[in-house]
C-alpha cells in the first residue's frame, strides 16, 4: 500500500518535472516578444501593409489563411490559427490583424489595435483603404512609434502629434512645390519625460477656453409586449481645453449618486473621487474624453415606437407609429428607424405619412423621420410579401431607433462647477449637453 503511494508520488513528481521542462522548451522555442506582426487588410482581404515588430517574421500567408476561414471563425476577435494566435478588430472596412505566438493578455492586443485605429483615423481624417494607401508612410511611422518590439511604446495622441506631424493641406502643398517636407520631428516631445505625458509642457494661448460636453447615449430594449425591459444611459464627459501653462481643474457634479459606474481618463486623480466624488485633473491639450459613466434603470424613453404586424396567407400588413412619450423639453431631432426585413420576405411595399422610407437591396429598411410634426403622428405602413410557400411570418424584425436631443442630458446628471486652481486671464468656460440613441431596440 505504502509502496504504491510512494510510486505514485514519484510519478507525479516526474510529471511535474516533465511539465516544467516542457514549458521551458516552449519558452525557448517561442520568442519572448508580445505582438509579432500587424497587418492591415482591406475589405476584400488584400494586405494593405504589414509591419513586422520582431525579428521573428510572420509570413503574410497567414492573412490568406485568415481570410479563407468560415465566417463563424473569422468573426472571432481571438483566433487560434495553426501557427499563430490572431487578434483582430474591424474598423470602417479595414481589418487590423495582429499575430502572436505566446501568451499575452488578449484584451491588451485588442485595445491596442483599437488605439491604432483611433490614431490613424484621427490623422487621416477617416479610415478607408485609399486613405491608408495614400498615407502609408505616415502609417508606418506612426506604427513604429506606437509599438516597439511588440509592446506599446507611445500611444498618447498628444505626443504622437508632436513626433509625427499629421498630414494637412499646407504640408501637402509644400511637398508638391518643394518636393520635400519632413513630417518627422527632430526633437523629442516634451511630454515623453513629464509626469503628465498627455499634456505638452507649457502650451500658450491668448485666450483660455474650457468646454465641457455631456454626451449621452441611451440604450433601451422594448420587448415584443411593448414593455421597457432595459433603459440605461452610457455617457461621456468630453472636454475641449485650451489653457495656458499647467492648469489644475476640478469638476464636480450636483448629483454624482446617479452614476452607476465610471471610467476615467488617466489624468483623473483617484483619491478626490474616492473621497468626495470630485474630478480633479490636469487636462490634456485639446479635445479628450475625461470620463465615461453609466446610469442604470431609467424609467422612460423620450420616444415611443409602436409596431404592429399581422400576417395571413402569404402577406403581412405592417404599421409602425412613432411619437413622443415623455417630452424632454427640447426638440427631438434626426429620428430614424431602421430594421432588417427577414429573409423570408420577398418584397415590401412601405410608405409613410411623414419622412422618407428607403429599402436597400440587402433588405435593410430605413425610415428617416427627422422631427415629429405637431399636427400628426408619423406612421409607416405597408405590406410585405412573403416567399411562396410561407403562410405566416414566424420571425420578426427588430427596430433600431435613432434620435438626437441637443441641450439636455437625459440621465439627469448635472455639472455643478468647474474650478481652476489658478485662474488665467481671459478664461471662457462653456457647458453643453446632448443625448442621442445608442442601442435602442424595439422588438416587434
Amino acid at each position: 500500500m505504502e509502496e504504491a503511494s510512494g510510486r505514485r508520488s514519484k510519478l507525479t513528481i516526474r510529471s511535474e518535472r516533465e511539465r516544467e521542462r516542457e514549458r521551458e522548451r516552449e519558452r525557448e522555442q517561442y520568442r519572448s516578444s508580445m505582438l509579432q506582426c500587424i497587418f492591415l487588410l482591406s475589405d476584400s482581404g488584400e494586405v494593405i501593409l504589414e509591419k513586422q515588430l520582431t525579428g521573428h517574421r510572420v509570413d503574410r500567408s497567414i492573412c490568406a489563411w485568415f481570410w479563407d476561414q468560415a465566417d463563424s471563425l473569422k468573426s472571432l476577435p481571438v483566433i487560434a490559427s495553426p501557427t499563430h494566435y490572431l487578434f483582430q478588430i474591424v474598423r470602417d472596412g479595414i481589418t487590423f490583424l495582429a499575430c502572436t505566438q505566446v501568451e499575452m493578455p488578449p484584451l491588451m492586443a485588442i485595445e491596442f489595435l483599437c488605439r491604432v485605429a483611433d490614431v490613424l483615423s484621427d490623422y487621416l481624417g477617416g479610415l478607408n483603404e485609399d486613405l491608408v494607401k495614400d498615407n502609408f508612410i505616415i502609417v508606418y511611422e506612426l506604427l513604429d512609434e506606437m509599438i516597439d518590439n511588440g509592446f506599446p511604446l507611445t500611444t498618447e495622441p498628444n505626443i504622437l502629434r508632436e513626433m509625427i506631424a499629421p498630414p494637412n493641406l499646407v504640408s501637402k502643398m509644400l511637398s508638391v512645390v518643394t518636393g520635400n517636407a519632413s513630417n518627422v520631428s527632430d526633437t523629442l516631445p516634451s511630454g515623453t519625460g513629464s509626469c503628465v505625458p498627455w499634456r505638452p509642457t507649457d502650451p500658450k494661448y491668448s485666450s483660455n477656453e474650457v468646454y465641457v460636453d455631456l454626451v449621452e447615449e441611451m440604450d433601451a430594449i422594448v420587448n415584443r409586449d411593448g414593455e421597457l425591459v432595459k433603459c440605461e444611459i452610457y455617457g461621456q464627459v468630453q472636454m475641449s481645453s485650451q489653457l495656458t501653462g499647467f492648469p489644475d481643474l476640478t469638476l464636480s457634479f450636483a448629483n454624482p449618486s446617479v452614476l452607476e459606474d465610471m471610467r476615467f481618463h488617466p489624468c483623473v486623480r483617484f483619491r478626490p473621487w474616492e473621497s468626495h466624488q470630485v474630478l480633479s485633473f490636469v487636462p490634456p491639450d485639446g479635445q479628450f474624453k475625461l470620463m465615461s459613466y453609466r446610469v442604470k434603470k431609467l424609467k422612460n424613453t423620450p420616444l415611443y415606437v409602436k409596431p404592429q404586424i399581422t400576417s395571413d396567407s402569404g402577406a403581412c400588413r405592417v404599421s409602425v407609429l412613432v411619437g413622443i412619450r415623455s417630452d424632454p423639453g427640447k426638440t427631438i431631432e434626426s429620428i430614424t428607424l431602421s430594421f432588417q426585413l427577414p429573409h423570408c420576405v420577398s418584397s415590401a411595399d412601405l410608405s409613410s405619412n411623414h419622412g422618407t422610407v428607403t429599402i436597400l437591396s440587402n433588405k435593410t429598411c430605413t425610415w428617416t423621420i427627422g422631427r415629429i410634426p405637431s399636427d400628426k403622428t408619423p406612421c409607416l405602413s405597408g405590406t410585405l410579401a412573403l416567399e411562396t410557400g410561407l403562410e405566416r411570418l414566424h420571425v420578426y424584425p427588430t427596430f433600431k431607433v435613432g434620435f438626437k436631443i441637443m441641450g439636455i442630458a437625459l440621465s439627469g446628471l448635472r455639472i455643478e462647477k468647474l474650478d481652476l486652481k489658478t485662474i488665467p486671464p481671459r478664461l471662457y468656460k462653456g457647458f453643453r449637453a446632448q443625448t442621442r440613441a445608442g442601442e435602442f431596440d424595439v422588438r416587434l
Binding site: T12, E26, S32, S33, V47, L49, T54, G55, L76, P77, V78, Y85, Q88, I89, V102, E103, P105, P106, I110, E111, L113, C114, D130, K133, D134, F136, I137, D144, D148, F151, T155, P167, S175, V176, G179, S182, N183, V184, D186, T187, L188, C195, N223, V229, D261, M262, R263, P266, F270, K289, R294, Q340, P342, H343, C344, L390, V395, Y396, K400, D441
Partner: protein, 1093 residues
C-alpha cells in the same frame, strides 16, 4: 522639381485624376517601381533619398522582397535628416536578420548616434540597434542598453527597457544575468513610464525572478496608478504573481473558501447570498467548480492549501488590493480586467463584488473586447453565479451584438438565472426565439433547457412553451426553405428531453405529446431524439406502454423513408421495446421487429446493415421464444438475456456538465479565450515558494560586493536593497573600474574586448558624464578581461593606499592652521591665536568650534580675559536656529557666539586654551568680537575659514558617485593648481612608496586646512612608477549651514618627483559657497607648508 508626378504621361494623368491625393504618398504606393530606385538612393539630395526609401517601403508594404537594396540603404543611415533616418531604420529593421553582414556596416553610425545630444536620436539608434538582433553585436547592444538605462531622458530609458526583450531573444546565456540586472535597475526607476516598460521586460525575460520585485514591491505598488496603461496591465500580473509566491493565497478569498473552517456558513453569513434575496442558496457558488478553478490557477497538487495568509495581517496583500482597486475605473479595458483578476484571486469574498460593475461596464466597449470580457465573466459566473445574478439585465441581447457575443450572453443568462429573475429572462428568451437569426434562436432554445434544468421550479412553463414551439416549427411550412430552422426544432426537442430527464414520471403527458408530433416533425435529428425517447421511456407510466404497438407500427411503416440516423434509432428503440414488451403485445411487437430487421438488413447504408445484424444476433433468443416471460432453459441464452438487458435496459445516468470544460486559465489570459494553454502560459507560482531574505541581504552586502567579479546576476541585483537604482548600478560597475580613468586606456580596453567595432567616436566626446558611464559599461561588459588587466600588485597597492590613508592614521600629523586674533603689539603683550577645530559643535549644527589660545607675553598678569559678541546678543534658542538653518537664510541673522569661560587671570608667560563656538553669518565676512581684558574692551575680528564651514560627510564611494552624477553641469566647477609639498617628502623618505607619499601629503594638506572626509584614493593601474597621472582623491562634506552635500575630487597629473598639477573639482548645489571653497582649496594647496616641515 515636380518629380512626384512621375515622368510618364500615365502617372501624370493618374495624379491629376486624384486631385485630393496630391501631396500624399499615393503615387508611391501605387507605382513604387516606376522610377529606378537605385540611383535615387545614391543621390545627394535628401528629398530624393527620401522618395527612394518611401518607394522601398511601399514595396515592403505590398509584400515584395527588396532586400537587395540593403547595402545602398545602409549607407544612408548617416543622413542628418530625421525623416531619412527614420525611413532607413524602418527598412533596416525589416531586413536586418536577412542580411547580417551588411547590417554590421551600420553599427558605427548607431554608436555615434548613441552619443548624440538629442535624446530622440539616441532612442532611435538604440531601438534600431537592439532590433537588428545579431549575435555578433549583442554585447555592444547590451552595452548601449546599459548606458541608455541611465540616460537622463525618460524616453531613452523607456526604449532601453523595451530593448531588453530584444536582446533576451538572442538567448545570450552568458549575458542573461546582466540583462536581468538591468531589468531590476529599470524597475527601480523613478519615472512611471520607464517602470511600465520595465515591467513588460520583466514579464518577457524573467517572470519568476521575484527578487527583483521583492526589492521594490512597495514602490511598484505606489507607482502603479501613474504607470502607463500598457505597463499597468503587465505590472498588475507581475505583482500578483509575486504576492502569491511570497505570501500564498488569502485565507478569506474565494480560492480557498472551500477549505476554510466552515466555508459555506461563512459565505452565507457575509451577505452575498442575501443580495439575491430569494434564498436560492444551492447555486450561490459552485463549490466543486471553485476548487477546480483554484487548482487550475495554481496547477499544483493541493499545494495551495499549505500556506495561506490573511488580508488583515499581511501588509503586502493589503497594498496590492488597495492599489489595484482604483484601476477598475481605468479607461483601458485590459487594465480593468487585469485589476479584476487580482481582486478575484486575492480579495476576501465580500470584496470580490466590487469587480462586478466595472466588468459589466466593459460590455459597452468595442465588439472585440466585449467578446473577451464576456469569456472571462463567464468563468467568474460559473464559479459564483450570485455575483452577477442581480445584473441579469446587462446580458439582455441587443440586435447589434455579434453572434458570438449573443451566444455567450445566453450562456451567461442561463447560468445566473434565479427563481426571481427567471420569469423576466424567459420572457426575453421568447423574444429571441422569434429572431431572424435562427442559429441564435436555436441557442436560445438550448438555453431554456439549461435554465429549466438548473431551476426545478419552472419546467412546466418552459415545457409548454417548448411544446408550442415544436408544434409551431413543425407547421412552419417547408422548413428546407429557411436556414437554421431545423436547428431550432432539434434544440427544442433536446431541451424538452433534458427537462423530462429530471422527472420523467410527472411529464408523461409531454412525452406522449411529443410522440404524437412525430408525424409532423420532419427533421431527422429531432425525430431521432423523439424515437430514442420512445425506447427509453417505453415502460413508463400507464399510457405509454399501451401506445407502444401503434408507435412501433408507425415507425416500421416510415422506416423506409427515414434518414439513416433515424433508422439506427428506430432499430435501437425497437429492440428496447421488445425487451420490455408486455405479454399481450409481445407477438405483435415481435413481428414488427422481425420486419424491421428484414428491412434494415437490406438497407443501402452499411451502418444500418451492421446494426441490424448485431441486433439480430443479440435478440435471437427473444425472437425465438413466444412469450416474453418464458424462462429460457439453456444457460447460454440466459447470458444473452443479461447482456441485452444490460445494453438496452440501462437507466440513464445524469450527465454532468462539469466535465465539459474542466480547464480554467488565469483571468484575462489568452489561454482562457482559446481554451488551451498557449505557449508561455504559466499558472500562478506555487504559494510561498519564494522566500525573500531582505535582512540577510543587507547585512551581507559587503561580502557580496567582494564577490562582484563573479557577476552572479541574482546576488548582484539583490544587494543593497534600500539604495536607489542608479547608485546601486554605479556601485557595481565602479568597483572594478576606478583604476582606469583615462580615455586612451579605455580605448585600448575596448579594442581588446571587441575588435569588430571602434569606439573612437564616442571616446572622443568630452562630456564627463558620458565618459563615465561609457567606461563603466565597458568594464561591466567585460568584467573578466578588465580584472585581469589589473595586476595583482596594482590591486594590492590600491588596497593598501586606501587602507593606510585614513583620517585616523593621519590625524596625528594633521596640523590645523592657526590664525592670529590679536597681535601682542596691539594687545599689550596679550597674544591670541585661534584654530578651527574639526569637532562638531554641541550647540547647534550651525556653529563652528574654534580653539582660542591666549598667551601672555608681557611681564604682568592679565586679568579677566573674555571674548564677547560685539552686539552682546543673547543666544537665541536652538529651535529658531535650526529653523533658520533649514531656510538657508542665516546671513540675515546676527552672528552668535557661545561665550567661553572667562579667564580670571593669565600670569606672564602662561598660556591658556579656551573653546568658543561661533556661528558666522556669512562664510566670507569676519565676525566682530570684543575682547575684554584688564577692564578694557578691544574690538577683534574673527575670520571664518571656509574649510571649516563644512563638516565631514561620511559616505561610501558608491554614494559619492551617485551624488556626483546628480550634480552635473552648473553644479560642477574645477580649478587647476600646482602642488609641491610632496617633493620634499618623497625625497626625504626614499624607501617609501612614492604614490603613497604623494597621497599622504595631499591628504594631509587638505585635511590640515579643511574639515573633510576622505572618501577614497584611487590609483592608476597602468602607470609607470614615476608617473602619478590619474591619481585621484575624493573628499566629501556637508555645508554646515544648509546640510547640502559638497564633493571634492582632486585629480593629479605629472611625475612623482616633480611639481604636480592638480585639478580640483567641486560638485555642490550651493554654487557660491562651492566656488569660494574651490578658490580656498586652490590657494592653500599652492602654499608651501612651512609648518609641515
Amino acid at each position: 522639381m515636380f518629380n512626384q508626378f512621375g515622368s510618364t504621361a500615365e502617372t501624370l494623368s493618374k495624379a491629376s485624376a486624384a486631385v485630393l491625393r496630391i501631396g500624399t504618398d499615393a503615387h508611391l504606393y501605387d507605382d513604387p517601381e516606376d522610377v529606378n530606385i537605385a540611383p535615387l538612393l545614391d543621390s545627394k539630395f535628401e528629398s530624393e533619398k527620401c522618395e527612394a526609401l518611401k518607394r522601398l517601403l511601399a514595396l515592403i508594404a505590398q509584400g515584395f522582397d527588396v532586400s537587395n537594396f540593403f547595402p545602398q540603404v545602409v549607407k544612408n543611415v548617416a543622413s542628418q535628416s530625421s525623416e531619412v533616418k527614420k525611413l532607413v531604420y524602418l527598412y533596416l529593421l525589416h531586413y536586418a536578420e536577412k542580411r547580417p553582414n551588411e547590417a554590421l556596416l551600420s553599427i558605427n553610425y548607431f554608436q555615434k548616434d548613441l552619443g548624440d545630444p538629442n535624446p530622440l536620436v539616441r532612442a532611435w539608434a538604440l531601438r534600431t540597434m537592439a532590433g537588428i538582433r545579431l549575435h555578433v553585436i549583442a554585447p555592444l547592444a547590451l552595452a548601449a542598453v546599459g548606458k541608455c538605462a541611465r540616460d537622463p531622458a525618460v524616453y531613452v530609458r523607456k526604449c532601453a527597457a523595451n530593448a531588453l526583450p530584444k536582446l533576451h531573444d538572442l538567448r545570450l546565456e552568458e549575458h542573461a544575468p546582466s540583462i536581468e540586472e538591468l531589468v531590476g535597475i529599470l524597475l527601480n526607476d523613478h519615472s512611471p513610464g520607464v517602470v511600465g516598460a520595465a515591467a513588460a521586460a520583466f514579464t518577457c525575460i524573467c517572470p519568476n525572478n521575484f527578487k527583483l520585485i521583492g526589492k521594490n514591491y512597495k514602490k511598484l505598488c505606489q507607482i502603479l496608478p501613474d504607470v502607463e496603461e500598457w505597463g499597468q496591465i503587465l505590472l498588475i500580473g507581475t505583482l500578483l504573481r509575486y504576492v502569491v509566491a511570497r505570501h500564498g493565497l488569502v485565507r478569506e478569498s474565494l480560492m480557498l473558501s472551500l477549505h476554510g473552517l466552515d466555508s459555506n456558513g461563512f459565505y452565507e453569513k457575509d451577505g452575498l447570498v442575501s443580495d439575491k434575496g430569494d434564498g436560492d442558496k444551492s447555486d450561490s457558488f459552485d463549490a466543486n467548480l471553485v476548487s477546480l478553478v483554484s487548482k487550475c490557477y495554481i496547477e499544483g497538487p493541493d499545494e495551495y492549501l499549505k500556506d495561506t495568509t490573511s488580508v488583515g495581517d499581511n501588509e503586502d496583500v493589503k497594498i496590492l488590493l488597495q492599489c489595484t482597486s482604483p484601476l477598475l475605473w481605468s479607461n483601458n479595458s485590459a487594465v480593468v480586467l487585469a485589476a479584476a483578476g487580482v481582486q478575484w484571486i486575492m480579495a476576501p469574498l465580500e470584496d470580490v463584488k466590487r469587480i462586478v460593475k466595472p466588468l459589466l461596464f466593459l460590455l459597452r466597449s468595442s465588439t472585440a473586447s466585449k467578446y473577451v470580457v464576456l469569456c472571462n465573466i463567464l468563468v467568474f459566473a460559473k464559479a459564483v453565479p450570485s455575483l452577477f445574478a442581480p445584473h441579469f439585465e446587462d446580458f439582455f441581447i441587443c440586435s447589434s451584438d455579434a453572434y458570438q457575443v449573443k451566444a455567450h450572453k445566453l450562456e451567461m443568462l442561463s447560468l445566473i438565472a434565479t427563481t426571481s429573475s427567471i420569469s423576466s429572462i424567459l420572457r426575453e428568451f421568447e423574444d429571441y426565439i422569434k429572431d431572424p437569426d435562427r442559429r441564435f434562436a436555436a441557442d436560445t432554445v438550448a438555453a431554456i433547457g439549461l435554465c429549466a434544468k438548473r431551476l426545478p421550479e419552472i419546467p412546466t412553463a418552459c415545457l409548454n412553451g417548448l411544446l408550442a414551439l415544436v408544434k409551431q416549427e413543425s407547421f412552419a411550412g417547408d422548413l428546407e426553405l429557411v436556414d437554421g430552422e431545423a436547428g431550432v426544432l432539434v434544440q427544442a426537442v433536446m431541451s424538452i428531453q433534458t427537462i423530462i430527464e429530471r422527472d420523467p414520471l410527472s411529464h408523461e403527458k409531454v412525452i406522449i405529446q411529443l410522440f404524437r408530433s412525430l408525424d409532423s416533425v420532419k427533421v431527422a435529428a429531432a425525430r431521432a431524439t423523439i424515437i430514442w425517447m420512445v425506447g427509453v421511456y417505453c415502460s413508463l407510466g400507464h399510457i405509454i406502454p399501451k401506445m407502444l404497438t401503434t408507435i412501433t407500427k408507425y415507425l416500421a411503416w416510415s422506416f423506409k423513408s427515414e434518414a439513416s440516423e433515424t433508422k439506427l434509432q428506430i432499430l435501437n428503440t425497437a429492440a428496447k421495446v421488445l425487451i420490455s414488451a408486455e405479454v399481450e403485445d409481445f407477438q405483435m411487437l415481435k413481428k414488427i421487429v422481425l420486419y424491421l430487421l428484414e428491412l434494415g438488413g437490406c438497407d443501402l447504408n452499411y451502418d444500418v446493415r451492421d446494426r441490424t445484424r448485431f441486433l439480430k444476433k443479440m435478440l435471437s433468443y427473444k425472437l425465438a421464444c413466444h412469450e416474453p416471460a418464458e424462462d429460457s432453459v439453456a444457460s447460454q441464452e440466459n447470458i444473452a438475456e443479461h447482456v441485452v438487458e444490460h445494453v438496452f435496459g440501462r437507466k440513464l445516468k445524469p450527465f454532468s456538465p462539469l466535465n465539459l470544460h474542466n480547464r480554467f486559465y488565469l483571468p484575462g489570459s489568452l489561454s482562457q479565450i482559446v481554451l488551451h494553454a498557449a505557449p508561455g502560459y504559466e499558472p500562478l507560482p506555487k504559494p510561498c515558494s519564494f522566500v525573500f531574505e531582505e535582512h540577510d541581504q543587507l547585512s551581507d552586502s559587503d561580502r557580496q560586493r567582494e564577490a562582484t567579479s563573479d557577476l552572479n546576476g541574482s546576488q548582484e541585483s539583490s544587494e543593497t536593497v534600500d539604495e536607489d537604482g542608479s547608485s546601486e548600478y554605479d556601485s557595481e560597475s565602479y568597483n572594478g573600474s576606478e583604476f582606469s580613468s583615462d580615455g586612451d586606456e579605455r580605448n585600448e580596453a575596448n579594442d581588446a574586448a571587441d575588435p569588430l567595432i571602434q569606439f573612437s567616436e564616442i571616446t572622443v566626446s568630452t562630456d564627463q558624464e558620458e565618459l563615465r558611464s561609457k567606461r563603466a559599461l565597458d568594464l561591466w561588459l567585460d568584467e573578466e578581461s578588465s580584472t585581469s588587466n589589473q595586476t595583482p600588485s596594482a590591486l594590492d597597492r590600491n588596497q593598501s593606499s586606501y587602507a593606510k590613508i585614513s583620517i585616523g592614521d593621519i590625524g596625528s600629523r594633521v596640523k590645523p592652521k592657526s590664525y592670529t586674533l590679536l597681535d601682542p603689539g596691539n594687545g599689550n603683550g596679550l597674544k591670541i591665536d585661534y584654530t578651527f577645530l574639526s569637532e562638531v559643535s554641541t550647540a547647534s549644527p550651525l556653529h563652528v568650534c574654534v580653539e582660542v589660545l591666549f598667551q601672555n607675553s608681557s611681564t604682568e598678569p592679565i586679568l579677566e580675559v573674555n571674548l564677547e559678541d560685539e552686539e552682546a546678543m543673547n543666544v537665541s534658542d536652538s529651535a529658531e536656529q535650526t529653523l533658520v538653518g533649514k531656510a538657508n537664510a542665516s546671513y540675515n541673522n546676527v552672528p552668535t557666539l557661545i561665550p567661553m569661560e572667562e579667564l580670571s587671570c593669565l600670569e606672564p608667560g602662561q598660556s591658556a586654551k579656551r573653546l568658543i563656538q561661533v556661528r558666522f553669518h556669512h562664510h566670507l565676512l569676519p565676525m566682530r568680537l570684543s575682547l575684554h581684558y584688564n577692564g578694557k574692551k578691544v574690538p577683534v575680528k574673527l575670520r571664518p575659514d571656509l574649510g571649516y564651514l563644512v563638516k565631514p560627510y561620511s559616505i561610501t564611494i558608491q554614494e559619492f558617485l551617485a551624488t556626483e552624477s546628480r550634480l552635473p553641469g552648473m553644479f560642477e566647477y574645477s580649478r587647476r593648481c600646482t602642488f609641491t609639498d610632496h617633493v620634499k617628502d618623497t625625497r626625504m623618505e626614499n624607501g617609501k612608496d612614492k604614490f603613497l607619499s604623494i597621497c599622504e601629503s595631499i591628504t594631509l594638506k587638505v585635511l590640515s586646512n579643511s574639515n573633510l572626509h576622505l572618501v577614497s584614493v584611487d590609483l592608476p593601474v597602468a602607470n609607470t612608477l614615476e608617473d602619478a597621472t590619474g591619481l585621484r582623491l575624493r573628499f566629501s562634506s556637508k555645508i554646515l549651514s544648509s546640510e547640502i552635500p559638497l564633493l571634492i575630487t582632486i585629480t593629479v597629473q605629472g611625475k612623482c618627483n616633480e611639481d604636480l598639477n592638480l585639478t580640483v573639482k567641486i560638485n555642490c548645489e550651493e554654487t557660491v559657497f562651492g566656488l569660494n571653497l574651490l578658490n580656498r582649496i586652490a590657494n592653500f594647496m599652492v602654499e608651501t607648508s612651512s609648518s609641515a616641515s
